[in-house]
Amino acid sequence: MARNLSMKDAINEALDLEMRRDPTVIIMGEDIAGGAGAQGEEDAWGGVLGVTKGLIGKYGANRVMDTPLSESAYIGAAVGAAACGLRPVAELMFLDFMGVCFDQIFNQAAKFKYMFGGKAQTPVVIRGMVGGGFRAAAQHSQMLTPLFTHIPGLKVVCPSNAYDAKGLLIQSIRDNDPVIFCEHKNLYASMADVPAESYTIPFGEAAIPREGKHVTIVAYGLMVHRALEAAETLSKEKIDVEVVDLRTLSPIDLDTIIESVEKTGHLVAVDEANPRCSIAADVIASVTEHAFKALKSAPKAITAPHTPVPFTPVLEDLYIPSAERIADAVRKQLK
């Protein structure tokens, strides 16, 4: 039975279902329960925005572990435990904090399988918040997805809605490779119909939330919503836009993108990341390389500028790609 659920609750439900199903799933992170060692309530926070609320009551402190503020140590411990048979889901509150613990992920987790000649597996999920719009400034707002997709051995997921978040997180937990699961903080409240039961969404399968004939917009995360908004505006101008939601960035579903571009002949790639070596740049390069003949116009990337994320709302609103910028790019392409 499907209920209308927020993305935040869908993520909580995915963790709950997998912890119930598989006793080797443990979760850890800073204040993911909260109140540890204090005299007030247990589960005082349930994560900084309440995403993991209620889980310690169901699974206990052995499986829902609050951590000291030592990302290098506990993220590394999650990686090590994964290599030794557990399925840890470690929360890195804001994925911006990746800088503190990245070695354990990109030199360790990502490389075990290959370096050890195929003899290791590291089924760890690192999940945390990404993206702007919270006025959280330069160190709590970034879209660092290109850093992760650059690394062979990591899988990278970034859902755009509650339904996908649940299915992709369950898949991430069951997957035997390390997964970076990117949760856009400005989508936590977004609602969708979500079945109560368990389901998975396979990696490397993009979704097409809107079909169209004239232009392909490729996006992920929050940008899917901006792309849909732009498509709505453009439909009034008789421009029929197809929106491709990547859902997973590693692996990436090039087939669906290329099929769409072969139909429309025009490509706009939207990315909240900075432009250099972005997902948008990667999509455009791949399409140009593999489907050059299908293109009727130069592909266009709409991204954040090559700057850190500014604090002040007037500038942050300019930083994050808007529906208007996307619509303008489409109009220019069709001219």
């Binding site: 540890a36 007030g40 503020l69 911006d96 400034a137 500014p310």
Partner: protein, 327 residues
């Protein structure tokens, strides 16, 4: 005028009180303004912790550097950063100390030796080792102070920096501002050693623990270790035990606290009340003199809020500037 039993002359005591009161009123006002919805983003308030930053910073000059935390407003004010620029920054205005680009979590004023509030826990410790290295290199007698909370004291960067500072004999003071909580998590859960002095000893660094609600305790302990560091004696570790009056950030329901904890803190662990009763009790500063300072501070904060609200916002061209020194 009775004898002054304190280690600072009266005008310095007045300066310290003004700083602490300015921090308090700055934070109390932000608490109110944030609730109105006028202030964007995350705001972490330093109210209750004023004696620590002020007691330490009374020993510092502009050439001395500090690295602050996410809870940085108090460190800024104690180090001499202008409240008007800070307030405008927190409101996201172009007149702010970082032209609206940084916000509460990234206020900095390098001209004052304030190397920035920081959104990354523990990030200041290596940076201040670098500041201290630069001072040592130049032989200018400058010291570096890095602040971190009880929670951030568990970051690898902090622990590595303690070793580095000891190995290189750097003029660094590691200050843990121990308010008992990291967000909602108690220090009893997250820090295994009973005493930070023991932890510091493990790195070959002398440590001292003080009551961080007592300005004079902080002032005296800090004075000794800062003097020692200036003279080439190397790093030291200072623990200030203190309380935070508000939630972790604005909007925190604080259900992790014991019942009555905040009221008890306000009643008995208020560093401003403690300071007042000491200096007034000794007859060095009168209540009336401090009340007058209170009025001046309140007026200054009020003016800074009014100005910040009226000040202009950055414009589109500001988005793309300041990424590099040269392009």
């Amino acid at each position: 005028m009775s004898n002054n039993p304190f280690p600072l002359p009266k005008e310095k005591l007045l300066e310290a009180y003004t700083k602490m009161k300015t921090i308090r009123e700055f934070e109390e006002r932000l608490h109110v303004e944030f609730a109105k919805g006028d202030i964007p983003g995350f705001v972490h308030l330093y109210a209750g912790e004023e004696a620590s930053g002020t007691g330490i910073m009374m020993h510092l000059e502009d050439k001395d550097r500090i690295a602050s935390t996410h809870r940085g407003h108090g460190h800024c004010i104690a180090k001499g950063v202008e409240v008007e620029g800070m307030m405008a920054e927190i409101y996201g205005k172009v007149t702010g100390s970082c032209r609206g680009k940084g916000g509460s979590m990234h206020i900095a004023d390098l001209s004052k030796g304030m190397m920035g509030a920081n959104g990354i826990l523990g990030a200041g410790a290596p940076l201040i080792c670098g500041a201290a290295l630069a001072s040592k290199f130049r032989g200018d007698g400058g010291v570096g102070i890095t602040f971190f909370g009880d929670g951030a004291s568990n970051q690898g960067t902090v622990l590595e920096s303690m070793n580095l500072a000891a190995v290189w004999n750097l003029p660094v003071i590691f200050v843990v501002e121990n308010n008992g909580y990291a967000e909602s998590t108690s220090i009893d859960y997250a820090v295994a050693v009973d005493s930070y002095i023991d932890r510091a000893a493990g790195f070959g660094i002398p440590g001292v623990t003080v009551d961080g609600t007592d300005f004079f305790a902080v002032y005296e302990a800090a004075g000794e270790i800062i003097k020692r560091a200036r003279e080439g004696g190397g790093p030291a570790f200072l623990e200030c035990k203190m309380v935070r009056f508000f939630g972790h950030f604005e909007g925190d329901a604080q259900t992790y606290r014991a019942k009555g904890e905040n009221e008890e803190n306000r009643a008995n662990k208020d560093c401003l009340k403690i300071f007042r009763s000491k200096v007034a009790g000794a007859g060095v500063i009168s209540e009336a003199e401090m009340n007058k300072i209170d009025d001046e501070v309140l007026a200054r904060i009020e003016a800074s809020v009014q100005k910040a609200k009226k000040d202009p916002l950055p414009t589109a061209k500001d988005l793309l500037t300041d990424v590099y020194v040269s392009y």
